[in-house]
Symmetry: C2
Subunit: 117 residues, 2 copies
């Protein structure tokens, strides 16, 4: 009876996910999309229309760089982290942890206080 959760991405969290995927090695859009979706289960249904503009933004920021690959009729655009991208990932990860801790600090006592209804 698999409960299904589905929600909008939280603004800014996708950056972290994409950078995380790329930390594992160079990759291209379609695969990144699948990797994030797998990790997200029912939760995250990442659309191409969300991913590609983000990749372009990240590239414009200089945290990833890209390169076209043409092989047997297939064209793929491979992205990889730059040194700035690795720094960005570390920073964002730290920020995420702090942010999550803030939420937790409010959430845990709240759920305890909440009547059973």
């Amino acid at each position: 009876m698999a409960e299904t959760f589905e929600r909008e991405l939280m603004r800014g969290s996708l950056d972290l996910m994409v950078l995380s995927v790329l930390a594992d090695g160079a990759n291209y859009g379609y695969q990144i999309q699948k990797r994030v979706r797998e990790a997200g289960g029912d939760m995250i249904k990442l659309q191409a229309g969300t991913l590609y503009p983000l990749l372009h933004r990240l590239q414009a920021d200089g945290v990833i760089k890209c390169q076209w690959e043409f092989a047997n009729g297939r064209k793929r655009k491979w992205y990889e982290l730059t040194p700035a991208g690795r720094r960005r990932l570390r920073d964002q990860a730290t920020q995420w942890d702090h942010y999550a801790a803030c939420i937790r600090q409010l959430l845990t006592p709240a759920l305890t206080a909440l009547p059973a209804d």
Copy 2:
């Protein structure tokens, strides 16, 4: 050498924080703002211009209800959770946990893979 983090709120996370604060009992805008800011430390600087529209949205959704209080020249608008609000808080909390788990699943191996630079 207090590192200071500061970032935009993540879309949707403020709902959770505000509902959490209200789980502790009825409260009014200005106090809610202070409670969230305390929990957020350097991280979250919640602006009144963000909070009040949210409170109105939550009210329109029927998850909180409000009541004016006039006492010695002060006017305050007290908000409290409705039963639907308690359900909402539980749902959002569960979703948050799942969401955080998804991020974690990508993030932890990524940081391990990341070279020291």
